[in-house]
């Protein structure tokens, strides 16, 4: 009998072990839309992820920052490493199979994941426990970020699918449909932003340095100018509407922000930009949290070459407010020393000025050479810069900026480096706008803040929009460009004095005043990632056909190791061969080939 009792007991155990819902396992450290997007705070939390579209100066281990790699697709700069010449310059641009980049101010890839990320939030608003005003606020924030992404998508592809809601695998009409026309998409972006301007919470509801009305207006200013001028110069309709929007909303921001920071250098080299005049939005970095390799680390590297071009350097005005072609104070470019004399101060903060010193032992010490001329810009930078920013001579990167090796000579050529392979340049114009001597964090990275939206850009947008509308007057100049001139050490722009002879190097197709407005934009926003889109909207891709030249040298001084443009014992340094030339189809990016296979109604952009 007992054995059956045992069996009964075991069976009882079995029944006890049979939990009914054993196979129903639920996650505990992950959420779903139903419980993640309910309250105001939930939306705020979700939205922090959307801010990552602003890559700023980059993150750990990614260099050069997006804004600089964009500049290298223009006539401003070159990444002077073999194989790194811009694909738009040497005609190696090819049709990708899939994907591409998705971050701010980068030539966009055919990627809609960010749109989806925003739409998930927008679609959840109606079901959330939010007051009507809060619903409107989060919709506005969502519209801002979606517009930010669509701006880059339009800039890249023209027509793009307009995706207003989260798609799923059954959304076949959208997934396999044609692109939405640029007219509709741009119109949607503009009206979304205008709605957001009217409906976003007032003040800074989500704390300082978050998306607010001024950010939305600054984005309309940027987008309006881009879309308006693109339409104007590519013969598309409704240019006026976008230029008007640019003007209207720029003025709105200008009322609120009337001054800019007094130091151009500190805009790019401050640990924080909180409360600084003219700063609308910036990206904050902090030691050991989020940091970037921009700044001293890679500027002292042996393998990252970023050079400004001769053409970009020549665009800086001289101290008399006139271009190098007609200035009385321009000393010529026979050497880098003469070339840099009496120039727009922004040049000294962007390109390292020339000098020569004698490096001592230990090698963080130095002394002047016997020739006082070698120290001209050392003395000048002592007056323009603080010891923690850009004093000369430059020291190469090291953990302690006071004991880094002193770079003995600028220009400091890769091919003639005096045994100092750091901070080298191929063209001689070493870009150092983000260089400073602030301490690095424990990861040996920098934490200077990156400006994202600032009044200087809005002023330039406004000035240009007014010029395109034929309304640029001395009053507009005084409201905008002339606010930038004092810190550059330049006299104010006098509109009346600008005539056809003002700059003999001017592109003859461009109105002399507009030429000067574009110059001011190029110089002020040098290195900020705008130039490639600017050239596209002006239909001036041909500017990339100019050879990318460097400093004028006598090759004998550098062991005859440098390549001289056109050959000969002296001349402009050259690194990359002459450009193959801009192609008309480059104004719009090619759509990845796989997308065309998957969606037969999708048509490739012309020329590809």
């Amino acid at each position: 009998m007992k054995k059956y009792t045992y069996i009964t007991l075991l069976s009882g155990l079995l029944l006890g072990a049979c939990q009914k819902d054993l196979l129903n396992q639920q996650p505990k450290t992950q959420l779903t839309v139903a419980n993640a997007l309910v309250t105001y705070t939930n939306f705020q939390t979700y939205a922090w992820g959307l801010y990552d579209y602003f890559t700023g100066y980059g993150g750990n281990g990614f260099y050069p920052a997006n804004l600089l790699s964009q500049e290298c697709n223009s006539d401003n700069m070159a990444e002077t490493l073999i194989g790194y010449q811009s694909a738009y310059i040497n005609d190696t641009k090819i049709i990708p199979t899939t994907g591409g980049a998705t971050s701010e101010l980068v030539i966009s890839g055919w990627d809609f994941s960010y749109i989806r990320q925003v739409n998930v939030m927008l679609d959840a608003i109606n079901d959330a426990q939010l007051a009507a005003a809060d619903q409107a606020h989060w919709r506005s924030v969502g519209y801002f970020f979606r517009a930010l992404r669509y701006y880059d998508l339009i800039a890249a592809f023209g027509d793009v699918p307009w995706i207003a809601h989260t798609l799923n695998e059954d959304s076949t009409a959208q997934l396999f449909g044609p692109r939405t026309s640029r007219d509709t998409v741009a119109q949607n972006v503009l009206s979304d932003l205008e709605w957001a301007d009217a409906n976003i919470g007032t003040g800074t509801p989500d704390g300082a340095n978050t998306v607010n009305q001024a950010c939305i207006d600054a984005l309309i200013s940027r987008f309006g100018l881009f879309e308006g001028t693109y339409r104007k110069y590519h013969n598309l309709p409704n240019a006026d509407m976008y230029l008007q929007a640019c003007a209207t909303y720029s003025q709105k921001v200008m009322t609120q922000y009337q001054t800019c920071m007094s130091s151009y250098d500190l805009v790019y080299n401050s640990l924080t930009l909180a409360g600084q005049p003219g700063i609308i939005l910036y990206k904050l970095y902090a030691p050991n949290l989020t940091d970037h390799e921009f700044g001293p680390r890679l500027m002292g590297s042996t393998s990252e070459n970023l050079d400004m071009t001769k053409d970009a350097v020549a665009s800086y005005l001289c101290a008399d407010g006139r271009p190098v072609s007609t200035s009385a104070v321009y000393a010529g470019d026979s050497t880098m020393f003469t070339e840099f004399r009496n120039r727009d101060r922004r040049l000294y903060f962007t390109v390292i000025p020339p000098y020569t010193v004698t490096v001592g032992s230990p090698n963080y010490t130095w002394s002047y050479t016997a020739n006082p001329a070698d120290a001209e810009y050392i003395h000048m930078m002592d007056t323009l810069s603080t010891p923690s920013n850009k004093p000369l001579p430059m020291v190469q990167w090291s953990q302690n900026e006071n004991t880094g090796t002193v770079i003995s000579e600028v220009p400091h050529f890769y091919l003639y480096n005096n045994g100092q392979p750091q901070a080298i340049s191929q063209l001689g114009y070493f870009y150092w706008k983000q260089f400073n001597r602030y301490p690095l964090d424990a990861s040996s990275y920098s934490t200077t803040a990156c400006p994202l939206l600032r009044i200087e850009e809005v002023w330039l947008n406004y000035a240009e929009a007014m010029a395109e509308e034929g309304s640029f007057t001395q009053a507009v100049a005084d409201q905008t460009i002339n606010k930038l001139r004092p810190r550059a050490g330049l006299p104010a722009m006098t509109v009346a004095s600008i005539d056809a002879g003002f700059d003999t190097n001017r592109d003859p197709d461009v109105d002399p005043v507009l030429w000067e407005i574009r110059r001011e934009r190029r110089v002020e926003l040098m290195g900020d990632g705008f130039r490639f889109n600017d050239l596209k909207r002006w239909a001036k891709g041909a500017y990339l056909n100019k050879p990318q030249l460097g400093v004028h040298v006598s090759n004998a001084s550098y062991g005859n190791k440098l390549s001289i443009y056109g050959g000969g014992p002296s001349g402009y340094v050259q690194f990359f061969p002459a450009p193959v030339g801009w192609q008309p189809q480059y104004y719009l990016e090619p759509i990845p080939s796989q997308e065309l296979t998957l969606n037969k109604t999708l048509k490739q952009n012309p020329g590809w």
Binding site: T29, T32, S593
Partner: protein, 1146 residues
């Protein structure tokens, strides 16, 4: 029920007391008077109990069968009363204190007086007539016996009619009944390789001869021997055909991976075909920790279930085979036996890469056109200095001369040897005791492994330690009920240096100074940042695993042939890690710059995995005439939850004592949780007719929580058949040679549920945005949910297996051959067609891809002896497989960057090396004096984007377009790329053997791969491989204008110029990965029997063993096939371990 149990317990206690106290019945005083007729014995005893005041203890069923008794007693003593009452009954009694214990009397021979003993003698011979010395003869049912002498003779006094058991190791036992014969000669036959051995199969056992699936069993003691190897995985390398063990590093405690029969699945996330691991089952219950937690000394056998026919019974996690580990247990009626073994080992790396000499290094700089080196050294001056100074080591103790503030290192050094060239001490100890009574068996064991690695052993950061404590206890509670408890605790500590700079050891040139402190460029002396110093002065990452595993099991045998087993296992695996990447300020020996190394980050991680499993299954086994049937049915459920957290902080205040609480940096932390559960119902039916025709069918209905509701359950059947041809009458003529022949076939399908839990729920995770609103902490963000298909279900793995088992010459030579084909169907992959990017996320996973693996395995074993003193054995196994993608809907364009149909595992795509460019390829006069800048003649091909120079590599221009390129990187348009090789190891073999002469034995283990191509570009295989590269002695044959018949093309300063074009994946630089490795050689001496007896021991061996003594391969020195690149190509090599030890039992 409860009372009965209590009684049983009391009885047991009383029996124990009785044995201990030996109390007799003397001194009883109480008198008893009873008169009863035909009364039940129980009633009589109750009366005695009442009168005497003594308590009776007995099992109630003990008395139930006895007839009633007649009793007449007056004033009898208790013992008198008991004698009368129990007269003629088969009972004994004993008295303990006030308790009378009744027991059944053991059966004794019927004869009242034993007949006189008989003197028996004879000889024991083997099947060739050779006498066997030391064969044992035992009288059945007793422990009396003797052994044979040198001529195989024996004599023994035995009771008439007794049975003698003759046994000898390696031979089948033979029994002889005496039947008054004075001379009994016996011939022993070599044992038939355990065809009657019992093989463990899922939820049961089977006779080996009846197995119809592909099952390989390995006795762990056979593969372990005396080897200084502490992990099961390493011991299992190339032992069983088809079981692939990957040991990617020689570092102590390095994790290993196991795989059965090659590629299993597609890894969608990184587009690689993966070779997943089998399910590890220990004593019938899945084991979640790494297999290496288990001490090989505790393992009896490892059984590999290769095919679905045998593995499917374990359900949802067994799709890619099962490894069954059976642990050692005690045996009944065995006196306690202790055994102790140890292994003391010196380990060192013997195969290290060799840097080029200083002259060769300086010459390579000149050849590349480098004039100025890293920290400004003028190469010409440097060469002059080096050539002019004799004995620079004496002149420059730090190895460096400073000229004009520039350091010129002048002493030849070897950073690789500095990092990996040291010897380390390792040891193992094992102690166990086993034994058993007639009801209980036990085994308890303790093992300890302590292995130091070679990364600066004095810094004590590179080590592995393990402690194992295990016990197995089994008790027959009744004749039909057995309980078992297994308790195991595994504890391991793995420490690895956190700042493990393999890459810099490789890339520093031969002249980089190696002194402990050197001067920075600014003149300040500092710690020299050599890779070895980074370890010595750095700190380790320490990972600790603790696993507590408890199994309770009850086995019921209510009637003949039926067993019911219930078992429950609780397994708690705890992983704790402390990782500290200590920050050091060092002077970098490449450029004399002062720099930080290490991030200063201190991390604490903790993870707990709790696994519970419950099995209930019944086996029924019955024969009807020649029909034998075994049926099994059962139920299984498992639940596994993993939860953990990590936290980290920089800014450690006291680097010698890092902690989270005392660090100052921003605090970061996160947690994780995941759980899955399984439930399965399974059954199996084995049938055989006369042991000749064999059939097995099994099925399992399985549910997994990893699938969406409604798609959770799947039914997976399997079956196999076998024919033991050797048992057929028509085969009898062949019998002398062909002793065993079986052919078999199996087919089965198994579900695979190995996907991440919750895949059917669109989840949102916490993220860490890079956006900050303050400088002290990260914000928390939320990810957006992906698109989830609600209809995906089990992947299905189908395996077809044909096999032959055979034995020749009385099974001295046995062998097994298996051919198999495994189809992994319905692999979860992105949907039927990828969706346009408009979707904004990846297409949902659906069951839309398939993979096929085909291969075979052979195993041969031969064992024999020559005369009485020489015995030998040899085992050889070989396996091979190929795998290819048979369906992948997600790649309509056949892009080569993801899976495509027809893609084989290991395919290497690359270009075909043709020749070097010569000056003749260029328009004359266009080349400058450096032989650069020339214009190619028309028709000479060049690589896309390349402006070639003489000395650069010309690739075959298959497309004839003049441009070598990769086309659209699709199967149809691959440009000039071809499949130029395959890295899948082919013809994987293992050979093991041994020979013994008397007390001395020698054994060896060989492993190898017959064919394999490897593309392993690195600093160690290519001169000046990258900007920070250097040159090795095997890389000096590069192109220079005066040596154009070179192996490598032209090299460039800082690896710039066209070097990247010369480094494309191409035919010339593929390495031959075939190799033969002698893995172990062991010499063992067993002390002779008389010495052992004098020392009162059972056995005493001393041995010497060498692990990895020889390697024959085709790779450059310092590289070994199968090892992981730890940085710039450098590997942590397998160590040559020379060990000594003893092995004793007592």
């Amino acid at each position: 029920m409860k009372v009965q149990t209590l009684l049983v317990m009391k009885l047991t206690a009383a029996l124990m007391l009785a044995a201990c106290l030996q109390v007799s019945a003397h001194g009883l005083s109480q008198r008893i008077t009873i008169q009863r007729k035909n009364a039940p014995l129980e009633t009589v005893l109750e009366e005695i109990e009442r009168q005497s005041g003594y308590q009776f203890f007995y099992r109630s069923e003990l008395l139930s069968t006895f007839r009633n008794v007649d009793v007449r007693l007056k004033d009898a003593s208790l013992s008198e009363a008991l004698s009368v009452c129990l007269k003629d009954l088969p009972l004994t009694w004993s008295i303990v204190d006030k308790t009378v214990v009744l027991q059944a009397r053991p059966a004794v021979p019927a004869e009242a007086t034993p007949p006189p003993p008989l003197h028996v003698g004879g000889r024991v011979l083997d099947d060739k007539g050779v006498p066997l010395e030391g064969a044992s003869i035992r009288i059945k049912g007793t422990d009396r016996g003797t052994v044979t002498d040198k001529e195989g003779r024996y004599t023994l006094d035995v009771p008439a009619g007794a049975v003698l058991i003759f046994s000898y190791i390696g031979y089948d036992n033979t029994q002889e009944t005496i039947r008054n014969r004075p001379v009994i000669d016996v011939t022993l036959h070599p044992s038939s390789q355990g065809l009657n051995d019992v093989v463990v199969v899922g939820y049961g056992t089977q006779r080996k001869g009846n197995v119809t699936g592909s099952v390989s069993t390995v006795k762990m003691d056979d593969v372990l021997g005396d080897r200084p190897v502490s992990t099961v995985s390493e011991l299992m390398m190339n032992v069983v055909p088809g079981l692939n063990v990957t040991l990617p590093s020689g570092q102590p405690g390095a994790s290993t991976s196991l795989n059965i029969r090659g590629a299993t699945d597609l890894n969608i996330s990184n587009s690689t075909i993966s070779a997943g691991g089998p399910l590890i089952v220990v004593d019938n219950v899945p084991f979640n920790g790494p297999l290496n937690l288990i001490d090989p000394n505790d393992i009896e056998t490892v059984t590999v279930l290769n095919d679905a026919g045998s593995a499917a019974i374990y359900g949802g996690r067994s799709a890619f085979g099962v490894i069954l580990v059976t642990t050692k247990k005690g045996r009944k009626n065995q006196a306690p036996q202790f055994s102790y073994s140890n292994n003391l080992t010196i380990a060192r790396a013997v195969n290290l890469p060799v840097k080029a000499s200083p002259q060769q290094f300086l010459q390579s700089l000149k050849d590349m056109g480098t004039t100025s080196y890293w920290s400004g050294q003028n190469v010409a001056l440097w060469t002059k200095l080096y050539d002019s100074i004799q004995n620079p080591g004496a002149r420059y103790p730090n190895g460096v001369d400073y000229i004009g503030g520039v350091g010129y290192p002048l002493v030849a050094t070897d950073m690789v040897k500095d990092l990996l060239g040291r010897s380390a001490f390792q040891m193992q100890h094992n102690l166990s005791v086993t034994g058993g009574s007639d009801k209980t068996t036990y085994r308890m064991a303790f093992g300890h492994t302590d292995e130091n690695g070679i990364l600066d052993p004095s810094a004590h950061q590179d080590y592995f330690k393990r402690y194992n404590l295990s016990s197995a206890l089994s008790t027959d509670v009744t004749s039909w009920f057995t309980t078992q408890v297994n308790t195991n605790y595994f504890n391991e500590v793995l420490s690895t240096p956190s700042n493990n700079q393999f890459y810099s050891a490789v890339t520093y040139p031969t002249l980089a100074p190696i002194a402990d402190s050197i001067a920075a460029g600014n003149g300040v002396m500092g710690l020299n940042g050599t890779p070895k110093n980074e370890i010595t002065y750095g700190s380790p990452n320490v990972s600790k695993n603790g696993d507590l595993r408890l199994t309770g099991r009850g086995v019921l045998r209510p009637f003949q042939g039926f067993t019911l087993t219930g078992e429950y296992t609780y397994d708690n695996l705890q992983n704790n890690q402390q990782n500290y990447n200590k920050q050091l300020t060092v002077v970098t020996p490449a450029n004399f710059q002062s720099a930080y190394t290490g991030t200063g980050l201190y991390q604490v991680l903790s993870q707990t995995t709790v696994y519970q499993s419950f099995n209930l299954y019944a086996n029924y086994n019955r024969s009807f005439g020649n029909h034998n049937v075994t049926a099994m049915a059962g139920f299984n459920q498992e639940e596994n939850t993993t939860s953990g957290f990590w936290t980290e902080r920089t800014g450690v205040i006291a680097p010698g004592q890092p902690s989270i609480s005392t660090a100052t940096g921003p605090l970061q932390s996160a947690d994780n949780y995941s759980a899955y559960s399984l439930r399965g119902y399974f059954g199996r039916l084995d049938y055989d007719y006369m042991g000749k025709y064999l059939l097995q069918v099994a099925g399992r209905y399985d549910g997994s929580s990893n699938f969406p509701p409604g798609h959770r359950f799947g039914f997976f059947p399997s079956g196999s058949v076998g024919w033991r041809m050797s048992k057929e009458g028509f085969m009898s003529a062949l019998k002398p040679a062909l002793s065993e022949l079986k052919i078999r076939a199996s087919f089965g399908s198994v579900g695979n549920q190995n996907i991440s839990p919750y895949s059917y729920i669109p989840t949102i995770s916490g993220t860490q945005p890079s956006w900050l609103t303050g400088t002290s902490a990260y914000l928390t963000g939320l990810s957006s949910p992906g698109i989830i298909s609600s209809s995906f279900t089990w992947e299905k793995v189908e395996t077809l297996d044909y096999g032959v088992d055979f034995g020749l010459f009385s099974n001295r030579l046995t062998g097994t051959f298996d051919w198999y084909r495994r189809d992994t169907r319905n692999i979860l992959a992105p949907g039927a067609t990828p969706l346009p990017a408009d979707l904004g996320t990846g297409a949902p996973l659906e069951n839309t891809a398939s993979l096929r693996t085909e291969g075979y395995g052979i195993q041969l074993t031969y064992s024999d002896h020559i005369g009485n003193d020489v015995r030998f054995h040899l085992g050889v196994n070989l396996s091979d497989n190929k795998a290819w993608v048979t369906r992948f809907d997600g790649n309509p364009t056949n892009s080569l960057s993801t899976f495509y149909v027809g893609q084989h595992v290991g395919d290497i795509w690359g270009y075909t090396t043709d020749r070097f460019y010569t000056s003749d390829d260029f328009v004359s006069g266009t080349l400058n004096s450096n032989l650069t800048g020339g214009t190619l003649k028309a028709g000479v091909p060049h690589f896309q984007g390349e402006a070639p120079n003489p000395g650069d590599i010309v690739y075959k221009d298959y497309s004839g377009k003049g441009t070598v390129y990769q086309g659209l990187n699709t199967l149809d348009s691959s440009g000039d790329k071809r499949i130029i090789g395959n890295s899948n190891p082919r013809y994987v073999y293992g050979i093991n053997g041994g020979i013994s002469y008397k007390q001395l034995s020698f054994s060896f283990v060989i492993t190898g791969v017959g064919k394999q191509q490897l593309n392993m570009p690195s600093v160690l295989t290519f001169p000046n491989y990258n900007q920070f590269g250097t040159v090795y002695t095997n890389e000096l044959n590069y192109w220079i204008p005066s040596h154009t018949n070179a192996f490598y093309g032209r090299i460039y300063d800082q690896a710039a110029g066209n070097q990247s074009f010369n480094q494309q994946v191409q035919t010339r630089f593929l390495q031959n990965g075939a190799y033969l490795r002698v893995s172990n050689l062991t010499l063992d001496y067993a002390l002779p029997a008389r010495i052992i007896q004098m020392a009162r021991l059972h056995g005493f061996h001393v041995f010497c063993s060498v692990e990895n003594p020889f390697l024959f391969d085709h790779l450059p020195k310092g590289l070994e096939p199968g090892l992981t690149d730890q940085g710039s190509g450098l590997q942590y090599p397998y160590l040559r371990r020379t060990s000594f030890g003893v092995n004793l039992t007592f």
